[in-house]
Symmetry: C2
């Protein structure tokens, strides 16, 4: 496993891979968990070379968000990736990614402004821009992303397609704790008490699936049922949304192409989760 910290080294490396080399890429902000590692394992099994990036991207955090407290542990991350026999870890500095005078930004209009984008203005501009930069440096054939950040996946698929970038996203299922909590680096913020409360996200999603499987297709009624579960647990709802899985447009009637997404504050920690409704 080789650690690359200079963006020029990363570029020179990726320019040398020939067309026959299948390159897989897993962009992360570090503080890795089994969710990230499932992406790494999939890339390893499908590609000749796997590159994992670790970069806590300041551009996707709002001024009042948790950039400074976002959990970091490079040594632990590297040890985990070493065990997975990752080929390259790309760990660029903020100064190299956003040098003085940096001024270019990518906007994916419409879908960047709803759901998490409405709660976090500028978030997806930061995500789209940094991923375009990383993709340009790593030059992968496939980028492995978890569906936990569902809107992010849709925004990035749109960007790659619109800007005619050749990289394709491989969507990977959400990895959960045994009790249902979706893995997230931000789960670290939860104390024992909040950790229990946080189950309400996956419980609310499961309830929606159950009700849908029994024939309920009204998003308003499903939302009320989910709201009850979350409020009872002490969560504060940012949004619950039943949307078309491709366009993220709200649906009036739930069907197989609907995805339900939610964001909930557990104490001060904002958590997200989602699920398909097809059975």
């Amino acid at each position: 496993m080789k650690l690359i910290t200079d963006i020029n080294d990363q570029r020179n490396l990726s320019r040398l891979w020939d067309i026959g080399t299948k390159v897989g890429f897993v962009p992360t902000m570090g503080y890795l968990h089994e969710g990230h590692l499932s992406l790494v394992a999939k890339s390893n099994s499908e590609c000749d070379v796997t590159v994992v990036s670790i970069f806590v991207n300041p551009a996707q955090f709002g001024p009042k968000e948790d950039l400074s407290s976002y959990p970091r542990d490079l040594e632990r991350d590297l040890a985990m990736l070493e065990r997975y026999k990752v080929d390259y870890v790309f760990f660029p500095t903020t100064g190299m990614m956003y040098p003085a005078g940096y001024q270019s930004w990518i906007m994916v209009q419409g879908i960047s402004d709803v759901l998490c984008g409405a709660s976090r203005p500028g978030h997806f501009k930061g995500v789209a821009t940094v991923v375009a930069k990383l993709v340009n440096l790593v030059n992968p054939d496939f980028m492995y992303m978890g569906e936990k950040d569902y809107q992010q996946v849709v925004v990035l698929e749109t960007m790659l397609r619109d800007l005619n970038m050749h990289t394709r996203i491989v969507r990977c299922p959400i990895v959960r704790e045994k009790d249902g909590l979706a893995l997230s680096s931000r789960n670290k913020y939860l104390d024992k008490h909040d950790r229990k409360k946080a189950l309400c996200l996956s419980q609310a999603l499961r309830l929606a699936k159950d009700l849908y499987s029994k024939g309920e297709t009204d998003p308003n009624l499903l939302t009320i049922a989910m709201t009850t579960v979350i409020l009872k647990a002490g969560g504060k709802i940012d949004y619950i949304a039943f949307v078309n899985r491709d366009t993220l447009a709200p649906v009036k009637k739930v069907n197989r192409t609907t995805r339900v997404l939610l964001a909930v504050y557990i104490g001060k920690t904002r958590l997200i989760d989602n699920t398909a409704l097809a059975i």
Copy 2:
């Protein structure tokens, strides 16, 4: 010479070029003139493969601008490029470049909003986006651009650097008619009378150079002198600007790193021109 109209064909082609193949790219909106051909000749002489694109990009025209009347003559363009032994001409359709639901845009903040960007809101967003798309499809090592669209060159250099794209711009000098008029596809709009008037742009630039060579370094005084030339000829000034050649920031005192840019209406036709002030 091969004509490529399908963006997937263009991508498949460019993915096959190996690292040893030097690829030169000349993006154009067609209606080629000697200025374009000087870029083609330079690419031919420096690269193994030369790709010329012809695409009148709707995204860089404002709603009241000349998109529908912009001159087009594909047959003539292809004949010219054939004579220059260009390898590939990429001529995508608008529908393939901007399919229904297109929503991703690149903004180069700051320098996109001044000078021509101030007069043409959204213009450089359209330019940056289409060039990123073309570069992603053609995957060139070098992109040959004329300094006639000076601000465009600076915006695109900034975008390529910021987004970590590997393509480098090769700046090429402005090509002029014998009497000094900078070549432009829009010169076609000028009738005989306006064609004469249009000389005031290059005359004003030459005057600024002369006065600077004689010791005048005050941009205000130089602007007044230039203004006189242009008004006398019957031109209507959009802007005259003495700026730093890299940042496009206005300068208080002219020196070797200053560039003077201007935009002038001759009748209804908006023309631009510029020059370095170093002697």
